[in-house]
Every structure is written in structure tokens, then in C-alpha cells.
Amino acid sequence: MANLEGKIAWVTGSSRGIGRAIALRLARDGADIAIHGRSEGGASRAHAEEAAEAVRALGRRAICVSGDIARKDEVGAAVAAIEEGLGGLDLVVLNAARAPFKETPRLLERDLRMLVDTNLLGHVFCVQKALPLMEQRGGGSIVFISSLGSRYMNPQYPLGPMKAAMEAMVRQWAEELREKGVGANAICAGLVKTDSYKTLRRIWPELSGLPDEAFVTPEEVADVTAFLCGADAAAISGQTLIVDRGLSNRILRAPTTE
């Protein structure tokens, strides 16, 4: 367990899935949480409120902020809301992602711009806006949630190259932000059964037949995130930890359908 008592954490894309599990884990370790979802209304807001309620049930403060990370002004507004609602920021978990599942010939220009705007520029906007708050509190940690698509080809997964770029970006940040007391690392998660898995299993029907050992749970990704946010990980800098139950080790023995 990481001691995150008194810390304030912002988890993007945390109304459900991996982000929600991370928010709850950081709360369990003592942090107050800003839940962040893209849309302001409708069911996703309801999911965000539900996640915030779950954080409060753990005895921590929680607020919901919204905004498209692809838009710098909306990121700025979300960070301002965190400052106002929680009084600062120590931990930034860059978990939000948005991407079409398509092979390259089918990608429209607007798909490509959305991919880059959200999954590359968006994270940079988040860090740029969060940094002053982190500095005010003497530093903090950034954790980026990547996926195996950064290094292995997944079918119809243009998000993979964005994840690869971000793993390099994290290395950059670790060096650039060290003197500000801000650390940066990434987690490269294996197969996780979340909403995007629902699309993936359609494109890649073999997935449905994989044994349970091939999958990582959102909670397991959250455990490693909490570790990277805590003091025990102080010597890990600019790294990407692969959290996949060894799936990527098995080039010659991929888990097969039984």
C-alpha cells in the first residue's frame, strides 16, 4: 500500500474502467480525487458522480470535473475547478483515451486529428496546466496509462502509435520536470476487459477464447499506479512498466483457445 495521505489526485477518464479503478485505489491509499469525464451531461456524468460517491464512501474528498482533454481551454477549466474544489494537485494520472478502431486505409482526416489531438496533445495540455499547481505543492507524480499497442501490433488500433509517442514523452518529462520535483512514469497495460475491449473483441474474435490468465484487471493496473505515485517508486524515473501478466513474453507460446 502506498501512503498517499494528504495528496490530491486527478485521474482523467475516470468515470469508468481502468480510470475508475485507479481513482478508487488512490483514494484507498489516502488521496483526495478529481474524477474527470469528457462530457458534462448524460449518463457519463452519472457514472462520474457514482465514482465520486464511491471515493467519498472511502472517507476521501472527491469532485467531478469535465472537459475534452483535446481542447486546451477545457483542460484549463478542469484544472481550475480542481484548484477551487480540492485546493491543489499532487498526482496526475493520464488515463483518458479516445480512438477509432480502423485500419489505416479507412482512417479519415478527422479521425487522425482526433487521435493526435486527444491522445498526444491532450496529455501535454493536462501536464502544462497541472504543473503550476504541482510546483506550488513542491512537486508530484505523473503516471501515463499506456497499452501493449505501443510496441505490438493490434488489429485496427491506430491508438498504438500514440501510446508509443507518449511513452517517449514520459521519458522526456522525467528529465525536464525533475528539478521541479515532478516525476513521470508510464504503465503499459496488457489486455484489460473494459469498454474498449468490447470493440476489440469484435475486431479480434479470438480474444473471446483467451484464458483468464491472459487478462489483467483494472484493479491490478490501479495497484501499480498507486505504487508509482508513492514514495517507494522515487527511484523509478521516465520508465514504462509492463503490467500484462507476462502476455508479451510469450511470442512463441501465445495463450491459445482451449
Binding site: S39, A43, A46, P100, L108, E109, R202
Partner: protein, 188 residues
């Protein structure tokens, strides 16, 4: 060529069940003309779950993306959605073919507003259109389709499940048919 083994009532019932499970609401409170997004509170991600459940029940593959995305892939970027993310006149006309002539859809609307036109009924129609493509005969040669549960159709001779054309393929084919007939889209 309707599918004699699966009734529209059964399809409606399964759509209600899929919506109820996904959105955690009561199935018998759902009206077929309700907007999935505006009235039932679904998000775009919920569509994946709703479709997945229906695909499992009926043994089909529904279209994996919105109609206008298919148009742009088939006929070219900009044909359905302009640079300001607004729909073109051709797109509005095509959407009326899909959602009915009375649907309040006009050129210049934001593309993001379109998913709100998806209703329980329009999902059921999408399922029905695929099921209507039941082949005359199974690949084994027999024409003895039957269904025990009123949802999955199997071959009475070899027991294989009926294979239907994929929703994406049907949608693409339909787009090209409409374009040939009505020339809704200016294709350069």
C-alpha cells in the same frame, strides 16, 4: 424476404432486454420510439454493449459505426460531414431514409446530434434488416432452417447456425444503392 423464424415482436423484446441490462432500467418501461441517448440516458460506449448482446442472441454482426462514417469512407471525406462538423444536404436526406421522412434532421446540423436519433425501434429495424437476409439454403445444401428459441436460426439438416451478411457490408451496399439511384452526394 422476411425471416419467417424470428418475429418483429421477438426482436423488440430482445432490444428492450439489451437496453434494460446495459442501462440498468426496467425493460417494460421502454417505448420503442424513445431516443436511446436523450430518453434512456445511454452514452456512445453503451452502444457497444447493446449491440454485443443482440449479436449474441441472434447470431448476427450489427454495423460497427454510424451511417455517416460509412458514407465518408465509401464516398469520400467531406461528402457527409463538412469541416465544421455539420452534416451536408445529402447526409440529411440519407438519414431521413434511415430514420423516416418525419425525423427532424436538416443539413447544417452538427454531426454529434445524430446519434440521439437512434431509438429502440431503429435498433430493432437494424437487427431485422440483417435477419431478413437469411440465405435460401445452408452451405450444406439443405433448405431446412428452424429455430427453437425464436432468435437463433439453425440448419435442420446439419445443425449449423445460419450466417448472415455483416451489418457493415449491408450498410455499405445500401449507401451505394441509394447513391446510384438518387445521387445524394457530390462525389468528385
Amino acid at each position: 424476404m422476411a425471416n419467417p423464424h424470428v418475429t418483429r415482436e421477438r426482436i423488440d423484446q430482445e432490444v428492450r432486454a439489451a437496453l434494460a441490462t446495459t442501462l440498468r432500467i426496467e425493460a417494460d418501461t421502454i417505448e420503442m420510439e424513445q431516443s436511446i441517448i436523450n430518453d434512456l440516458g445511454a452514452t456512445s460506449i453503451d452502444f457497444l454493449d447493446i449491440n454485443f448482446r443482440l449479436e449474441q442472441v441472434f447470431g448476427i454482426q450489427l454495423a460497427s459505426q454510424l451511417l455517416l462514417d460509412h458514407v465518408e469512407e465509401e464516398l469520400g471525406e467531406g461528402t457527409a460531414i463538412d469541416r465544421d462538423n455539420k452534416i451536408t444536404a445529402g447526409a440529411a436526406a440519407l438519414l431521413k431514409e434511415q430514420f423516416g421522412p418525419d425525423a427532424p434532421i436538416d443539413a447544417g446540423m452538427y454531426a454529434d446530434e445524430i446519434p440521439a436519433f437512434v431509438t429502440a425501434g431503429s435498433i430493432a429495424t437494424a437487427v431485422e434488416k440483417i435477419l431478413d437476409h437469411l440465405a435460401d439454403a445452408c452451405t450444406c445444401g439443405a433448405s431446412e432452417w428452424k429455430s427453437e428459441d425464436g432468435a437463433k436460426v439453425v440448419c435442420g439438416a446439419c445443425g449449423a447456425e445460419a450466417v448472415y451478411p455483416d451489418g457493415d457490408e449491408l450498410t455499405k451496399g445500401w449507401i451505394h444503392d441509394v447513391q446510384r439511384e438518387k445521387q445524394l452526394f457530390a462525389v468528385s
